[in-house]
């Protein structure tokens, strides 16, 4: 009964139980910290150009380049269990109904950003100089809410969006939406909500005014001929 083997087994069993209970408590602690995210976004410049999906392609597609200005305060999302925050902006526009299902929509990410918590800085995929700068920006801090404050003016999109049909010019009723995804150290992944949930408030604003994608830019069209 009390040989060394059963003792090792018991110690290991106890260790895993304790580890899982602590992890569960940490995961549950997310719900105790209030979240009050807010963002304002507006488009500053919208263009549609013709291009190819990749260098060797002969197919010509239309690409929308949507520049935007963003002011966001996501600092309340940084807690001791936050590993990173993934912020992304989608362009959304209605699609023509397919069969009997109305309310079709198209969504595409035009810009995204990974904001690591200082405790996860060492994991980011950055060059040595940038990483050093990032680490120094939060020296001695394990949580740095100021990283959640974003302010961009006339920001270029990371992704130029197209549509499977290759046509995107003169699309009406396009809106930009700010989203976030909180990646914890352990526990549930969470996204922005459309409703208040306990101490987590819904995203304040974060939707742009509807706009229209213009016709293809003349100069680019001539150039590509």
């Amino acid at each position: 009964m009390y040989n060394s083997l059963t003792r090792i087994q018991n110690v290991f069993g106890f260790f895993t139980t304790v580890a899982f209970v602590v992890a569960a408590i940490i995961a549950a602690s997310d719900f105790t910290s209030p979240r009050t995210p807010s963002a304002t976004i507006k488009t500053t410049n919208v263009q549609v150009v013709k291009g190819r999906p990749h260098y060797y392609s002969t197919k010509k597609e239309e690409y929308a380049i949507i520049k935007f200005s963003l002011d966001a305060d996501l600092s309340s999302l940084f807690t001791w269990n936050t590993k990173q925050l993934f912020v992304y902006i989608t362009a959304e526009w209605p699609a023509p109904p397919v069969g009997d299902s109305m309310n079709q929509t198209n969504k595409a990410v035009i810009w995204d950003s990974i904001i690591t918590s200082p405790s996860a800085d060492y994991l980011s995929n950055l060059g040595p100089a940038t990483l050093k700068k990032l680490k120094r920006s939060a020296e001695g801090k394990s949580i740095d809410p100021s990283r959640g404050k974003l302010s961009f003016k006339n920001q270029k999109p990371k992704y130029q969006i197209s549509h499977p049909t290759g046509k995107i010019a003169e699309t009406d009723d396009v809106t930009l939406h700010v989203h976030y995804n909180v990646q914890p150290w352990v526990g549930m992944l969470t996204w922005n909500q459309n409703f208040d949930f306990g101490r987590w408030k819904k995203m304040g604003q974060g939707i742009s005014k509807a706009f229209e994608l213009p016709a293809i830019k003349k100069k680019d069209a001539e150039k590509s001929k």
């Binding site: 989608t90 079709q104 969504k107 595409a108 980011s124 499977p164």
Partner: protein
């Protein structure tokens, strides 16, 4: 040594005990599978394409039901490329249309380009049926054992050997 073999009743009890442990684990796995409606409700991350969110060896819990909302842009999904059986964990970045026939495009957070190159020939977009679940829960590092086991096959032999030895040697 081998005293358990001289006592058939004890040997049978040990065998049953071992079978019980195995079947409990299997039942739990299948139970999760039914609850989440996913063929593999718990996956281990094998690549660094979603770093820094997920490292190799992290354990992900999947959910494959759409009770409240459809699988949407921004969700991290696990999908199988057509005719291939390698599950890939990436984020949905584009979605054209709504419903089962919606066209989805994915991308790894740590990759520069989207996944068009990863898909099968002639497959430009994913559909809902290619997805085996969206990531909802996360435990770091726990799954690293399975990576060790698959990368160093001798570990498997060693582990089985030790377990067998324990079963035979264990008294009480």
């Amino acid at each position: 040594m081998l005293s358990s073999l001289q006592n058939p009743r004890q040997a049978a009890a040990q065998l049953l005990n071992f079978a019980l442990i195995l079947s409990t684990a299997f039942m739990m796995w299948k139970g999760f599978s039914v609850a989440a409606n996913s063929p593999s409700p718990i996956v281990v991350v094998l690549s660094g394409s979603m770093e820094p969110a997920f490292q190799r060896g992290d354990l992900l819990f999947l959910w494959n039901r759409n009770f409240l909302a459809e699988t949407d842009v921004g969700e991290v999904v696990v999908y199988n490329v057509r005719d291939k059986d390698i599950p890939i964990v990436h984020r949905v970045v584009r979605k054209f249309g709504t419903g089962d026939k919606a066209q989805l495009l994915t991308k790894g957070d740590n990759n520069l380009a989207d996944d068009t190159e990863l898909y099968a020939k002639g497959q430009d977009y994913l559909e809902r049926k290619d997805i085996i679940g969206s990531v909802v829960g996360y435990i770091p590092f726990v799954g690293y054992v399975t990576i060790m086991l698959s990368e160093h096959p001798w570990l498997k032999t060693a582990m089985l050997g030790i377990m067998g030895l324990l079963v035979v040697l264990q008294r009480e």
